[in-house]
Amino acid sequence: MQEIRDFHAFPDAQGRFGQFGGSYVAETLMAPLAELTEAYLRLRDDPAFIAELDRDLTNYVGRPSPVYFAERLTRHVGGARILLKREDLNHTGAHKINNTVGQALVARHMGKTRIIAETGAGQHGVASATVAARLGLQCVVYMGAVDIERQKINVYRMKLLGAEVVPVTSGSKTLKDALNEAMRDWVTNVADTFYIIGTVAGPHPYPLMVRDFNAIVGREARAQLLDQYGRLPDVLTACVGGGSNAMGLFHAFLNDRGVRIVGAEAAGEGIATGHHAASLAAGRPGVLHGNRTYVLCDDDGQITETHSISAGLDYPGVGPEHAFLKDAGRAEYVGVTDDEALAAFHLLCRTEGILPALESSHAVAQAIKLAREYPKDGIVLCNLSGRGDKDVHTIAAREGVTV
């Protein structure tokens, strides 16, 4: 692959990150995607839109989120300093709201009256229902029947916020199938409906737009580190499901070649067992959900079922920009198992009084591994993408506790 000078120059006008990305969708969606791209690229540079978004991020989401030095965790691990970017402190409890606030504003500017979304862990569904309620838009959330079972609290939260939650019973009944069903809805209702995709996947312009709306995470963190520590971190880490919180953290640092970047994918019961969701670490290039990226599939090209303890990471594809960063050698992607994530979950609870989402616990586990590789004055910056209240039932069940 050719040497890349400027990682911020991607995607190109067709939505391609090198060989990845693009718009692999049914003909019916080509026009709405072109309309969305046109609207988004216009708004993206519009000072009034930027000011509107900034106001919402400050007053509604609660930005900026702090960078927190996890001192007791660091001491416990005995390596480099572990800093946490506290996206768990955002309104609704995860980074997902950065994106939904942005897309909802785009929807309103485009005159759309109905919002649809897919969700895995329910965090993106909650974040979509939240912004829809605030803007007075109708909201329908597609969620796999399996995920509805393991994320009951979030399902109820969405209903309280006025959203309709539609169970998806096709395929593996998880996030990928919810995405298929949301696409089918969109194809059928293109005139009045805006589809808020929850991660940096899907056809162009979604990987670009969702990344842009989450890139505030890395921009803030970069400035916070320079301000508070007078330097950049040695290494960044974040969990990667579809990859939005990770892209959000990584993007501002892509051209800082001295900063190492490590994405933590869900290795489930271990990559060797086949029960995992590590598309980059164990998959191959293919086409899924409107873009070319790394996917988990069999030799017939059928997308395989994934496994992770965290619903939000249980996805057989990944955003195309991550595929590009992997092949360009700019970022590494490694697997973190269910057990490692759970151990990190408990450790963070007890050393710092922070209850992380199971998704984010994968990043914490990876941060702990990385901290051991660096000297004590090193800095590992970890994206704490969300809080774990939604996962309490899953954890209790797994540990044989009745709540």
Binding site: Y24, V25, A26, E27, T28, M30, G286, G290, Q302
Partner: protein, 266 residues
Amino acid sequence: MNRIDRRFAALKSAGRTGLIPFVTAGDPAPEHAVALMHALVESGADLIELGVPFSDPMADGPVIQHASERAIAKGVGLADVLGWVAEFRRRDVDTPVVLMGYLNPIEIHGYVRFGEEAVQAGVDGVLLVDCPLEESAVLAPLRDAGLRQILLAAPTTAPERLANLCKAAEGFLYYVSFAGITGAARLSTTDIAARVADIRSHANAPVAVGFGVRDAGSAKAIAGFADAVVIGSALVERLEGVASATEVADRVLGFLAPIRSALDAG
């Protein structure tokens, strides 16, 4: 000349509307897949659209989704589908066969390898739902091997793209009658008649209309302004769960014969 072009030329000179049934390969039963193809032809099909099962059929409604799931559960993959086409060709060298599906199975199989094997098997074209014209560069090896890429146009297609599609169309252009997924019942022939007529006057290829055609009545209505009609979900639904080869043939005949006569009734 490709079989597709030859077939449409023959239809045109006979003044007939083409009948294009869609079935999911391997459903209702992999062991009757080839018999099903012959039954389609014997019941009046002019061209066969054979669906390659895919785990994530984003553009399909429940009927075809479930047919795909059933076929995949029985282990049906691209190699089986190519094998069935090759077997079909031993008795039928004239009826064009178009494989319809999604890109990933072909991407994973390898474009060059797929192109060679498909032509070898007797496939004439591909219709890849998630590969619009803008992304079609990857299909160059298929075209080089001699396969036609069947393009789709939709009610939402903007004028400028439509002009490009009409220019690039080969084999036939598939007009999707409404914005939606397969199997929905939203057909409004009055809305689409003028649009299809316009496309026909500009396209370099014949125009087939699909989505929402369910029976003789709706097929007949479309036939007034299209070169061919495509019928999928209603047929797939009719075949669900059928276990014997004779019953497959009976159901196909029972379903297609009235449609064929309606189309031919002038």
